[in-house]
Amino acid sequence: MTETAPERESTGDDALVEVRNLRKYYQDGGGLLDRVLGREATSVKAVDGVSFDVREGETLGLVGESGCGKSTTGETLLRLREATDGTVAFDGENVFDLDDESMSSFRRRAQIVFQDPFSSLDPRMTVGAIVAEGMRIHGLPESDPTVATAAELTVGDGIDRTVEVSVAEDLDRVVEAEEGVARVSVSVRKHEGDDETRYEASVDSHADLLGATVEDRDTDLHVEVTVTGSANAIRKKRAGDLLERVGLSADQVDRYPHEFSGGQRQRVGIARALALDPEFIVLDEPVSALDVSVQAQVLNLLDELQDEFGLTYLFIAHDLSVVRHICDRVAVMYLGRVAELGPTDEIFENPDHPYTEALLESVPRAEVAEQGRRVATLAGDVPSPRNPPSGCRFRTRCPKVIPPDDIEIEQDAFRAVMNLREEIEAENLDPDEVRTADPAAYRKEEVPGIAGENAGIVDEALEAVADGDFDTAAETLRDRFETVCETTPPDDSPGGDGTVVACHLHD
């Protein structure tokens, strides 16, 4: 894939994450035994040249069937797996070149939520410890030197002296700053005893983490507010706040994950991702394992959090209805590549890529009109990413595969010929069967709807098969029925209304 497409070229200010030509190959084999036996390592091309931007504040959907590389893309761009090739720029900096310090800052700014609410939480840690783990690793909460601190003082009855307040610089570790200032309310009261008068100060909030003391100076009273809670206590408090924010209860911090239901666990996973105040979250099938009623709760929660914290999401999913609901733009992946990318409504209402069309067609709708609908299904399975098809990855199943210009052939018939060609190239046909059926009769059965010269060529190939000569048969068919879809990988071309589509039909 080249980068000539208008959309992906744009590196406007609004792109938070820019993924360019990302590749991730897995080596298969290559162990000691394989090396001894001289077996060659093959690579599984899980992600094979993917480019897209995630714009600030948007939700980009990454959708596709299992094995299309969508989750690998998500994990690789966060550098949870080492990329084979390509670049990912986060806020302008290449994620793969970061030094330790910048990496640590990247980890704080980009987070991930996983699919499986059971395996994504360490069963031996309390949810409080799980949510606080990130803060502990990064030594948070730390004080922001640019944040000022202030106190609002309430002076009790009968105090007629000047009261001065000083607030610890690191108050913002406990109290969230608003407009650059962390505020705390302090009250001073006077206790008149028989022989002496005592003054007492107390903070009105966060009493378990903050302390206030009064010093009786000659001229005035001096109140000092300090952070008394340990870092652990502050983190635990914040973990509780986060649990509350995601719809759980703060007093559940000491519970273990197994005490929660799937939906609640997924909320814990979201709280963990939020703990570091990230800007960008990869949501890797966050609702796929949940029941529909709970799924809707979590989707609504994700929506609210995005608004509240100004988050940018990369939403990985296979459920197209969910993607339609939550995403601003969608990238449809097939076998390690992006087939089509564009605004959600555009993709769902006017899909340009035949794969997108087939995918949308397949989804059963939950409505009465759906009853008995027969779907024009794609034939066969997704090919192995170990040995993906040349040219366009989708050509082996594409119902709109493009016939050569110089021959006349029906679309369906051409698809049938291409299927036959693949069977021959894979040597899957049984020569005896073809021979006993007679090649011409076999052709009428397998490839109906062709005649004349085309039929002659197919018969010729089938005769070769009957003789067991698969090479000649394949050669014969390739000579006549070679499609642009197999010779040339499609470039990204503009489709309708701001979409980008990798298909020769749109060149």
Partner: protein
């Protein structure tokens, strides 16, 4: 590191298992004996007394020939005399050939065994676990090298390896001062008890042996730790920690190790037993650095087995008890730490193939009774697809299993009838089982077990969600389908004697198999039929694919093969439990098309169980919605989808995003699926706590009501009071009352 839950499991397992108690008592006894040996031993175990050698234990006596010489009349006369040697009270278990106290030696021997067992295991564990975790976590060359080394070293018997190493390094031993003696506690206590004083002031720790058994056995730990690390490193919580920026050391220490402790702990207990045995073998062969060892005593006693059997028997018994005790503790730990999976009058209308009435299935778990399926009624008509939809835990899959009587313990169908229409079967059982027959219908649940089993296949067939685990990975797909065909063929030929391939194995069969020319269970016709079936479900190249194993099939193809297997018996009712849930949408569409096609052509009825409302809409004519084990609403697809009455059905329909219309916000059902524990359920509408329209009347038991039906030919039934009254806000159930 030990969570409260683990402790609870440990206690629970201990209460329920007598063996675990025995194990703990044995191990505790061994540990106490070893620790307090100086107080418990009757004598210094190394003190020799040749006057009192080979004394028998209490209650036994031993004879010996004693020769006395006497000068009688100038010539030496020898007289042989049989002398009885009696047991001595101060040596209750006798003495050995050197006159040492057998009991005291066994007591001190426990020290050696326990020390070597525990320290050796500790060394092996520390070494093995560190190497294994690192290798498994980082993989690559370290891992390759480790695994090859492990394979090679496991190929040697550990005893041989240990002897070789001791031969190389000698038998160094360390004298460890006995703390009780050093502190001067022993003698006063012993004299107070009236026991002889002068116990050994140090204890010989066979250092080389400990190092050697550790080195011989660390590979086991390395292998298991590596395996655990390999799988844990792929867990998402590890990825999550990495995404948080955790260092490798933190991940290994905080996430991998704690989660690998269970198998390591279990292995450790087994290793303690193995090492105790290994140490005994080594000292038996004379390779130990100490003479105070059970194995050494056995080797000493070997020469006297016929005359003084107790010398070898006492330490022998000690070894047996110690090893049994440690192994029982190991079993207990394993069972407690890996608890496994805990727990998940007929109308005369003749066009119903199946009528389910009052079906109730419960699971009797340790937490209590779980009401998985509660009084479920529904009918399946000829040639229709009846859908059961519900969320996980709603009881839909257990309903499917209950239909075909495949509920496994601790579950049991406690009530209900499954009426299946089969005129022949009804006729056959009319006299023998009158209660099980009503007109043309038979109640499958009341038929004899053999008949019920026979019905699986020709009457009911099932396909499950996960085709990969439903097929045997080591048998070709074709053979598995052929087997299903064969079972049906034989059953039809002789309905009384259905046998599966596992039955009829035994010595006779083995001999017959060896003598007679090979006879396959599956006949050739069945194999041909299997290929036909594969073709029928749209598998290209069926002859060739029939020869392949399940792992060579893709998910979609496997599900097709499962369908083919289900078709083998030409069933009247196909029960499909989440048949497409594991599949991608494009493949799902293929399988749904196939099911529709087959259902129409074979005129089957299908019970389709799924959580996917879209799948229900595409496939079903009628549908039942399940919640908390009950069918809360059932009727035609139109009634349920367009005029839902039950607020749960409404909520379910409102929860799913519409692919054609991106509504800004979903209206989910609040809260979570309720617990199905009997104790927590009570007599009320189970949905009341989550229901936006709950009223005070919902806190009583809710009957099934008839609701307005859109179509004439169907009943629309709802288990909700809203079926015949309007929602009244003045009776609304407050959230506090909901909780109660």
């Amino acid at each position: 590191m030990i969570s409260p839950r683990t402790l609870r499991n440990l206690r629970k397992e201990l209460r329920s298992s007598a063996l675990a108690k025995i194990g703990i008592v044995l191990v505790l006894a061994m540990i106490l004996i070893a620790a307090f040996a100086p107080f418990i031993a009757l004598h210094n175990p190394t003190n020799q007394n040749l006057d009192e050698n080979n004394l028998p234990p209490m209650g036994f006596s031993r004879t010996t020939e004693e020769t006395t010489s006497e000068m009688v009349n100038g010539s030496l006369e020898l007289t042989n005399e049989t002398v009885y040697v009696n047991a001595s009270a101060s040596h209750p278990m006798g003495t050995n050939s050197l006159g040492q106290d057998v009991y005291s030696r066994a007591v001190y021997g426990a020290r050696t065994s326990m020390m070597v067992g525990v320290l050796g295991t500790l060394l092996a564990a520390v070494l093995g676990v560190s190497v294994g975790l690192v290798a498994g976590f980082y993989r690559g060359r370290v891992d390759d090298a480790l695994m090859r080394f492990a394979d090679v070293s496991l190929a040697f018997p550990s005893l041989v390896l240990a002897i070789a190493l001791i031969g190389l390094w000698g038998r160094a031993a360390v004298d460890v001062p006995d703390p009780f003696v050093v502190l001067g506690l022993v003698d006063p206590v012993r004299s107070a008890l009236g026991l002889p004083t002068g116990m050994p002031d140090s204890f010989v720790l066979p250092g080389t042996v400990i190092v050697v058994v550790g080195l011989v056995n660390w590979v086991w730990f390395a292998r298991i730790a590596r395996g655990e690390a390999l799988s844990i490193r792929e867990e998402e919580y590890v990825k999550a920690a990495r995404a948080l920026g955790a260092s490798d050391a933190r991940i290994i220490g905080r996430h991998v190790l704690p989660n690998a402790t269970t198998p390591i702990l279990v292995l450790a207990t087994i290793q303690v037993a193995a090492i105790i045995l290994l140490e005994s073998s080594l000292s038996f062969l004379g390779f130990s650095g100490t003479t105070l060892s059970w194995g050494f005593d056995i080797s000493q006693g070997r020469a006297y087995l016929s005359t003084a059997w107790w010398i070898a028997t006492v330490p022998g018994l000690a070894i047996v008890l110690a090893v049994i005790g440690v192994n029982l503790v190991g079993d207990w730990l394993r069972d407690a730490l890996d608890p496994g999976i805990e727990g998940e009058g007929v109308s005369e209308m003749a066009d119903e193939i199946l009528k389910v009435r009052n079906l109730t299935t419960r699971f009797f778990t340790e937490e209590g009774q779980v009401n998985a399926v509660e009084h479920v009624d529904f009918d399946v008509r000829d040639g229709e697809v009846f859908g059961i939809v519900g969320e996980s835990g709603s009881g839909k899959s257990v309903t499917a299993l209950s239909l075909i009587d495949l509920v496994e313990t601790p579950g049991r169908i406690t009530e209900g009838e499954v009426w299946y229409r089969d005129a022949d079967l009804a006729e056959e059982h009319r006299d023998s089982h009158p209660e099980a027959v009503d007109g043309d219908y038979v109640d499958v649940r009341q038929l004899p077990e053999a008949t019920r089993r026979w019905l699986r296949g020709p009457a009911f067939a099932t396909i499950f969600q996960d085709p990969m685990s439903s097929l045997n990975p080591s048998i070709t797909v074709g053979e598995q389908i052929a087997e299903a065909v064969e079972v049906q063929r034989r059953a039809r030929a002789n309905p009384r004697r259905t046998r599966s391939r596992t039955q009829g194995y035994g010595l006779g069969r083995l001999i017959a198999g060896a003598v007679l020319p090979s006879q396959s269970y599956v006949s050739e016709e069945s194999e041909e039929r299997a290929v036909e079936l594969l073709e029928r479900v749209g598998i290209p190249d069926p002859e060739q694919r029939a020869e392949e194993y399940p792992h060579e099939f893709s998910g979609g193809m496997l599900q097709r093969a499962m369908v083919a297997q289900a078709l083998a018996g030409e069933p009247d009712v196909l029960i499909a439990d989440e048949p497409t849930t594991a599949l991608d949408v494009t493949i799902q569409a293929q399988i749904l098309n196939l099911l529709t096609e087959l259902q129409e052509e074979e005129d089957m009825s299908v019970v389709l169980i799924t959580h996917n409302l879209g799948v229900i809409a595409r496939m079903c004519q009628r549908v039942g919605v399940m919640y908390a084990g009950e069918v809360v609403e059932r009727g035609s697809l139109e009634d349920v989808f367009e005029n839902p009455v039950h607020p749960y059905t409404e909520g379910l329909l409102g929860s799913i995003p519409d692919i054609e219309d991106p509504a800004p916000r979903l209206s989910p059902i609040e809260g979570n699926v309720p617990s199905l524990l009997d104790a927590e359920m009570g007599e009320k509408c189970y949905f009341a706590d989550r229901c936006p329209k709950a009223m005070t009347s919902c806190l009583t038991d809710i009957e099934e009501h008839e609701a307005p039906a859109a179509t004439d030919d169907t009943d629309h039934l709802v288990r909700c009071i809203l079926a015949d009254r309007e929602y009244d806000e003045s009776e609304a159930l407050g959230s506090a009352a909901k909780q109660g």
